[in-house]
């Protein structure tokens, strides 16, 4: 009989040989990695609410260099315009924090700082402070979730879980769980998207999509999708009847070594789950709120470029905007958000106003919404 260590070596090799094949590793790692970058640095939690509430010294430097590098394009970055600088008030956890254009901060997220291992995070260490629509105050969400998506009627889609299976819970700002939805996630791990017109939630899944009215327990419609690139994105159109799905650029050679590019958007009917039409587009929409109210423009992000205002009919870029997230206001203007500043743009992507955010927001994931 062989030496035990020889058999041990074989047993370890056997275990290694049973490893799964890699599937979307790079895309999923990118999503998580970008979150880690955003959430790095300092502690957050219930105490932070009070800390944020202290008077803030105006932050004088607008960190324009924080934006992603601009891609080679003929579009002129809108930052070259001279927007008016506006001072925002100090943060007060007792009332909605007003940004430019009448928008407010709806959620702030941060991880706990661990000086001995600053790069190691788990969902247990992520905290979210949310605006309670009923009370108008900010409070920490009880329960541990990887990410939150504020929705209608004070409801929040809070999700997390292992890569193999995710859980989206519909919770109130006070943390009460209204419903739990299990699903297998898709590569890139995009956020669930709230309908712009009612209480339906669009959830990207490994099979395609699921649409559910969160007020009805038994209502789940599912459908299959294909050709979504590494950075898959699903978003509702402003009519609330259709949704857009990014499609891989079919002219790009398929290779694990090349990051997939977006070539178009497929538009599906939410009612039938059928493909309605396709439109040319070279970036992924930044969610449902990235569609202009009239549906003619959309805010997209190319694989590694700046936020781009694009024409829906032609897919042509119109302007590049600064920020890590963006949304349309009801009047058609655009608000971009970072953890250090916000900027207001007109419908053509011309910068109108800019404002620094309180220094305490640095390192936070800041989500803005309408009051």
């Amino acid at each position: 009989m062989r030496d035990l260590e020889d058999n041990l070596r074989d047993a370890v090799l056997d275990l290694a040989d049973d490893a799964p094949r890699p599937l979307d590793l790079a895309a999923a790692a990118r999503t998580k990695g970008r979150r880690i970058r955003r959430r790095r640095h300092i502690a957050f939690g219930a105490v932070a609410v009070a800390l944020i509430a202290v008077t803030v010294t105006p932050y004088t430097v607008l960190r324009k260099d924080a934006a992603e590098p601009l891609p080679a394009a003929t579009v002129s970055p809108s930052v070259e315009a001279t927007p008016t600088t506006v001072s925002l008030s100090a943060f007060d956890a007792g009332k909605p924090y007003r940004l430019l254009g009448g928008a407010v901060i709806t959620a702030l997220s941060r991880t706990v700082d661990k000086p001995d291992s600053p790069d190691v995070y788990t969902e247990d260490e992520i905290h979210h402070v949310l605006l309670n629509r009923k009370t108008g105050r900010y409070g920490e969400l009880t329960g541990r979730y990887g990410a939150v998506v504020p929705g209608p009627d004070g409801l929040i889609a809070a999700y997390g879980g292992a890569t193999a299976e995710k859980t989206t819970r519909i919770v109130t700002a006070s943390g009460a769980i209204r419903r739990t939805i299990f699903y297998r996630p898709i590569g890139g791990d995009p956020d669930p998207e709230w309908s712009p017109v009612d209480s339906r939630l669009l959830i990207p899944t490994s099979e395609g999509f699921a649409i559910t009215d969160v007020t009805r327990d038994d209502d789940v419609r599912t459908g299959a999708l294909s050709n979504c690139p590494d950075w898959c994105s699903l978003s509702w159109l402003p009519n609330g009847k259709e949704f857009a799905v990014t499609q891989r650029d079919s002219t790009q050679p398929r290779s694990e070594a090349i990051q997939e590019k977006v070539g178009s958007l497929d538009i599906y009917s939410a009612g039938t789950g059928k493909l309605v039409r396709s439109i040319k587009m070279t970036g992924r929409p930044l969610g449902t709120r990235a569609w202009s109210p009239d549906g003619r423009h959309v805010l997209v992000r190319p694989e590694s470029g700046a936020i781009t205002l694009a024409d829906v009919r032609s897919g042509a870029p119109i302007a590049e905007l600064i920020g890590s997230d963006a949304l349309y206001l009801k009047d058609g203007r655009i608000l971009t958000v970072d953890d250090e500043f916000v900027m207001l743009y007109d419908a053509q992507g011309r910068a109108l106003e800019q404002a620094d955010l309180p220094r305490e927001f640095q390192g936070l994931t800041v989500k803005a919404g309408l009051p």
Partner: protein, 169 residues
């Protein structure tokens, strides 16, 4: 991040992903857990890519091992399984004995504490030296030797070996 660095990250994952998954599966014995472990390590690597890309492999391996060990600690040892019924060693030919022992060892490996298993994976799957293992796990070489020693003693007991073993070389 610059496109060239993005491309470099994509290429790194394409080239090393399977190798990392093999290590992760040897440590977890579970496909989903292995996938999660590797994705978590790659995400941390991505978040620091401009700084660590020149030595990405070492960085990711270090995160992989340490995440596994710390996750196990956090979970209150919940991943440790009791191996009450290790397959009996049948009185067969030597080859059959070896096969039976390999199967028993595979089960027994999953019962070891994560750090001991990490040491064995580094030593037996990756052929790392004591010093390299210590560097990756952030401990002293003496700790690696003692962990390996304990692991082998426990494995020997679990599979019914009576011959004393040299713990580590």
């Amino acid at each position: 991040m610059k496109q060239s660095l993005e491309d470099e990250f994509t290429a790194f994952v394409a080239e090393r992903g399977q190798s990392l998954l093999r290590i992760a599966h040897a440590m977890t014995g579970d496909r989903d857990a292995a996938q999660d472990l590797v994705q978590g390590a790659l995400a941390k690597a991505y978040s620091h890519w401009p700084r660590i890309h020149s030595d990405a492999e070492a960085y990711v391996r270090k995160i992989l091992y340490n995440d596994r060990v710390s996750a196990w600690r956090k979970a209150g040892n919940r991943n440790e399984v009791t191996v009450a019924d290790v397959p009996d060693r049948a009185n067969r030919e030597r080859h059959d004995d070896d096969v039976a022992e390999r199967l028993a060892l595979r089960e027994a490996l999953l019962s070891l504490p994560a750090r001991q298993r990490a040491v064995l994976v580094m030593r037996y799957l990756e052929d790392r030296s004591v010093e390299e293992t210590a560097e990756a796990l952030g401990c002293r070489p003496g700790t690696v030797v003692s962990q390996a020693s304990r692991a082998l003693v426990k494995l020997r007991a679990l599979v019914g070996r009576v011959t004393p073993l040299e713990a580590s070389r």
